[in-house]
């Protein structure tokens, strides 16, 4: 089973590498370290949000409200920082993660404890969060003029010549990788998505797992909300509009199964990187950015078809192994 996973990620990695080399052949500037760092910086938001969405999708859920959460938290943080210019960076970040988590907990409560389907809840909160941005800001746009030095400095900082956003994405990804791979709650997510009934019989509290993933998705959306607003120096009602579908697309390309229980951190990160490379490569090779949507649509479809094919024998194999084992133990 591990071998199938390894090859799928390897294949995706090779495709991304081939894509980058092809673009590099036409425009060598694309493969310079500065340009590569730029791609990673641009994609850092997508890396984190894709992993958060993956946690949700693993449990057979979906969170359509992440981009709206990002925009709302970004606006709240920007307004707070304008009202309290003395707020230190740590305070801003804590606030962002806190607000994002609370918004995520609203989803989590409705899904885990009331029992409404995730797509319905997050469709509703998506509309509510977007509307709230307009209400709390009175429809106004906040630009970098409304933001103070502490607020704006963080995403522009570099440590060891590597932009801070890449460091944040790296830390968050590593933490999540540890969680998915080595923590009890992380393994539980695979169990819940793979077979909820079996998971329940194993003593896994499914409601608590669901509450956890939506809170986690909220926390990461909140953090990304601050980073997004301070990086682009703007906060208004429509930022990151429709981004939730890009995030889901990155998961799908990365081999996360929408049916739950299947997905890996490396796959999801490669899926996000793939979209990031396309966005950054088009202007370099003089293709109009209007092609971006069409290409990512084609890639999503190709990825789901390929993944559906590789998922099929996987299911059969497990059954056959189980049957063989059962037969063996009987003898």
């Amino acid at each position: 089973m591990t071998r199938v996973f390894a090859t799928r990620e390897l294949l995706l990695g090779l495709i991304v590498a081939a894509l980058m080399v092809t673009v590099g052949l036409r425009a060598p500037v694309f493969l310079t370290p500065a340009s590569l760092l730029n791609i990673l910086t641009d994609t850092s938001f997508l890396f984190m949000l894709t992993l958060a969405q993956m946690a949700v999708i693993l449990t057979r859920g979906i969170d359509l409200s992440v981009a709206a959460n990002l925009a709302l938290t970004g606006m709240i943080v920007a307004l707070t920082s304008r009202a309290l210019p003395g707020l230190p960076l740590l305070g801003i970040m804590t606030l962002a993660v806190g607000v994002g988590s609370v918004l995520g907990m609203i989803n989590g409560t409705l899904i885990a404890f009331v029992g409404i389907p995730p797509i319905v809840v997050t469709l509703g909160t998506l509309a509510v969060f977007r509307g709230l941005i307009f209400l709390i800001a009175g429809g106004a746009w906040l630009t970098s003029k409304d933001m103070n030095e502490t607020f704006l400095a963080f995403p522009r900082a570099t440590w060891l010549n590597i932009p801070s956003l890449i460091w944040v994405a790296l830390i968050v990804s590593t933490a999540l990788w540890m969680m998915f791979r080595h923590s009890r709650i992380g393994r539980g997510l695979y169990a819940v998505g793979g077979n909820p009934v079996a998971a329940r019989y194993c003593g896994i509290n499914i409601a608590r797992q669901q509450f956890f993933v939506y809170t986690l998705a909220g926390a990461i959306s909140g953090l990304t909300g601050y980073l997004w607003v301070s990086r682009y120096g703007i906060a208004y009602t429509d930022i990151a509009q429709g981004y939730e579908l890009t995030i889901i697309a990155a998961c799908v390309i990365g081999g996360v199964s929408i049916a739950g229980g299947i997905g890996s951190v490396s796959g999801a990160l490669l899926g996000a990187l793939f979209l990031g490379v396309i966005v950054n490569a088009l202007p370099v090779i003089d293709v109009s950015p209007f092609w971006q949507m069409l290409i990512s649509g084609a890639v999503i479809l190709a990825a789901v078809i390929v993944n559906a094919r590789s998922e099929k024998p996987l299911g059969k194999l497990i059954l056959r192994e189980a049957r063989l084992k059962a037969a063996g133990s009987e003898k």
């Binding site: 319905v120 469709l123 509703g124 909160t125 509510v128 929408i258 209007f290 479809l301 789901v304």
Partner: protein, 331 residues
């Protein structure tokens, strides 16, 4: 045991008053009356036959999509690419209009392209047995991307004289009811008849309850699924004709975000997102509740984005209320 008992099959639960009052359609009728009462109280312009009938312009096109979406969701599928299909249809009609074709040819082309886009979705879902939510996120990107590639930042605005009559006009000069609303009502009756009174309708419910069991009882599951995707494509073509005629222009972002609004209409109408349950009457009532809420609030100058907060809350409260009531009743 009485001798007749073996012939008495309980095919539906016995009638009860609380059961009737908790029926989704009854709750929606109550909600509709509340909306009308509140709106009449806050604005003297609400209960005006001319205003009310003009208000239907704003939701009839979405409502047409909601009818077909209801059938799809009842059959456990979903189509998030509807709005993008509208963009492709509108684009085709715009290009043909530029080439000098008449209104009849434009309308035929719009419907044909819509059906073709739906067939693409249907083929991907049935041939590769892929989850429709992922496929239609992909084709949404693909179709919208196609419109962006062709149009760029331009707009097509030249349409022949007779073309706008359908989308802008009224059924009779003496009766101020827009064509689009009449088309919606007629089609709603037709959809209601097919879904609730024909074999095909029962088969759609059977697929939604249990596709495997439906297949084993001789229902051509994949053929019906495919047909439903073509149907929603056709409805998107019809909506594109009405919308393009009404606003008289085609931009790449035409009908952007409609997919989520349409899904909201259907779910608020009591169609179960898990499939297998729902009524056309519920969808029609939910269309009216949402449409009149939006109209009433815009009369008192509430911005659209704030109305979306109410829509979101309405969706969540409406879905969670019966679940909570049931839990309390069960003790």
């Amino acid at each position: 045991m009485s001798p007749t008992q073996r012939y008495h099959v309980l095919d539906r639960p016995p009638a009860s008053l609380s059961g009737f009052l908790l029926r989704w359609e009854v709750i929606l009728v109550g909600l509709l009356l509340v909306v009308i009462a509140v709106n009449t109280a806050i604005s003297p312009y609400f209960l005006d036959i001319y205003n009310l009938s003009d208000a239907t312009f704003n939701f009839s096109e979405k409502a047409l999509l909601a009818l077909a979406m209801a059938l799809l969701i009842i059959a456990r599928e979903i189509d998030l690419s509807v709005a993008a299909i509208i963009a492709v249809c509108s684009l085709t009609m715009g290009l043909l209009a530029k080439a000098g074709y008449g209104p009849g040819a434009l309308m035929l082309a719009g419907l044909a392209v819509g059906a073709a886009c739906g067939a693409v979705n249907g083929a991907l879902v049935t041939l590769f047995s892929l989850p429709s939510i992922v496929v239609t996120i992909g084709t949404m990107s693909l179709f919208r991307g196609l419109a962006q590639v062709v149009l760029g930042d331009q707009a097509l605005t030249k349409y022949p004289a007779g073309f706008s009559a359908l989308g802008q006009g009224y059924i009779l000069n003496s009766v101020p009811v827009p064509n689009s609303f009449v088309i919606f009502l007629v089609l709603a009756a037709l959809y209601g008849f097919v879904l609730h009174r024909t074999t095909l309708g029962r088969r759609i419910f059977a697929i939604g309850h249990n596709p495997t069991a439906a297949r084993f009882s001789g229902v051509p599951v994949n053929r019906i699924r495919f047909g439903l995707f073509v149907l929603i494509g056709l409805m998107a073509g019809l909506a594109a004709i009405l919308l393009t005629g009404r606003i008289g222009s085609t931009r790449p972002n035409i009908a952007q975000g409609w997919e989520l609004e349409v899904v909201t209409m259907v779910i608020l109408g009591g169609v179960s997102i898990a499939g297998g349950a729902g009524t056309i009457a519920g969808v029609v009532l939910s269309v009216l509740v949402l449409g009149l809420t939006t109209f009433g609030l815009s009369l008192i100058n509430v911005p659209g984005i704030v109305i979306s907060i109410l829509t979101g809350i309405l969706l969540i409260v409406a879905i969670s209320a019966p679940i909570i009531i049931k839990t309390i009743k069960r003790g």
